[in-house]
């Protein structure tokens, strides 16, 4: 009787472990599908989250850098010059440092959190600030 039922099982699976193998197979299938969809949709999903198509991809990169170093002047150079200075040069250390961190053995970043489409808002706010500053100096 037992032999008969084992004959219906996949090769290599014994009756004792058949239930476990069945659930592992389901888990593996779910992992494969989700992993692929997730990897595939990450780039478009993140771009939409950040502000594309209102912002171009380069502008998204630009705004991310402005948030990272809390610096309105940070620019995403495309292409980045080969052997050029890294983007944080002068922004992390030194008299003109802009990056916001609580430094210590376990540092704590204090940059702004980026919620849905926030990069568009950050850009608009910055442009408004710059326009106001330009008006004030005239």
């Amino acid at each position: 009787m037992k032999n008969t039922s084992e004959n219906n099982l996949p090769v290599g699976t014994t009756e004792h472990f058949s239930n476990m193998h069945k659930w592992l197979q389901r888990g593996l299938f779910v992992c494969l599908v989700v992993l692929v969809l997730e990897a595939s949709l990450s780039l478009p999903g993140l771009l939409i989250w950040f502000g594309w198509p209102t912002l171009t991809i380069t502008e998204v990169c630009d705004e991310l850098m402005k948030v990272r170093w809390s610096d309105d002047k940070a620019v995403c150079l495309v292409p980045h010059p080969l052997y050029g200075a890294n983007e944080g040069e002068g922004r992390t250390n030194g008299p003109a440092a802009t990056a916001q961190d609580e430094w210590g053995i376990q540092p704590r970043p204090l940059y702004k959190r980026i919620n849905f489409r926030d990069l568009v808002k950050f850009r608009d706010d910055r442009l408004a600030r710059e326009a106001a500053a330009a008006t004030a100096t005239q």
């Binding site: 014994t14 299938f29 992993l35 692929v36 989250w49 998204v60």
Partner: protein, 234 residues
């Protein structure tokens, strides 16, 4: 004598047919996996993979000797998992100033894991700029896991798909490495939790929801230890 020849002839024909059916299915699944391993093109690879999987299931139903479905799933999932990990980390290591990396990797960091956003591209080794993630310990994990875990695991998965004993054995070895990977990597993140999770969009729970599907080794190990290993050839 004639009967014996006929019996072996039928056996050989069955073996040949099985081999051809398996290869036909594998061609679709390999094509799909090549696309799925690129990440962004994965959505186009998935239907090809499913078609190959369906061909294999049809061959099994027709009585041909093809791989058990679970072995196929483990093998291809391990390849995809290893490829995606290696691709992301190779971009962070070698292509960290490309536009796509500065949007995808560091953007992902801003949303799920600050280790890939905080002071990104500032890491140095002596006078040399290394760039990429600068979170404490992260670069060491990237290099060691690509070299010592994901590449051997990928090779083992190919051996497993060929139903080789070494494939099964090496997949067991490299999947057990997964235990060290998950415990070590997560503890490193925990000790530097502020760097990783302060002021990012979806801290901690977001990372877990995104990354839990890389749990492959823990789904493969119980099978690899309980399958009748005689089905794998020396």
């Amino acid at each position: 004598m004639a009967t014996t020849t006929n019996v072996f002839g039928a056996y050989n024909a069955h073996q040949d047919e099985s081999k051809q059916a398996q290869w036909r299915a594998d061609k679709w699944m390999i094509g799909g996996t090549l696309l799925m391993g690129t990440g962004v093109l994965g959505i186009f690879g998935l239907p090809l993979f499913f078609y190959g999987l369906w061909l294999q299931m049809q061959a099994a139903k027709a009585g041909l000797s093809v791989r058990p479905l679970i072995v196929t799933l483990i093998g291809y999932l391990v390849i995809i998992d290893s490829s995606l990990n290696s691709l992301g980390w190779a971009m962070d290591l070698f292509a960290n100033h490309s536009l796509i990396n500065r949007v995808l990797t560091s953007g992902w960091g801003a949303v799920f894991d600050g280790g890939y956003f905080w002071h990104y591209n500032e890491l140095k080794m002596g006078p040399y700029t290394i760039g990429g993630a600068g979170a404490p310990g992260e670069k060491a994990w990237e290099i060691s896991l690509i070299l010592a875990c994901f590449c051997p695991r990928l090779a083992a998965a190919i051996g497993l798909l060929q139903m080789k004993r070494w494939g099964q054995q090496w997949l067991i070895v490299t999947c057990w490495m997964g235990l060290i990977v998950w415990i070590g990597y997560n503890l490193n993140m925990t000790f530097y939790a502020d760097v990783r999770y302060a002021n990012i969009t979806f801290p901690v729970w977001g990372w877990w929801i995104y990354d839990i599907f890389y749990i492959t080794p823990f789904l493969a190990l119980p099978y690899l230890h309980t399958v009748n290993r005689e089905i794998f050839t020396d």
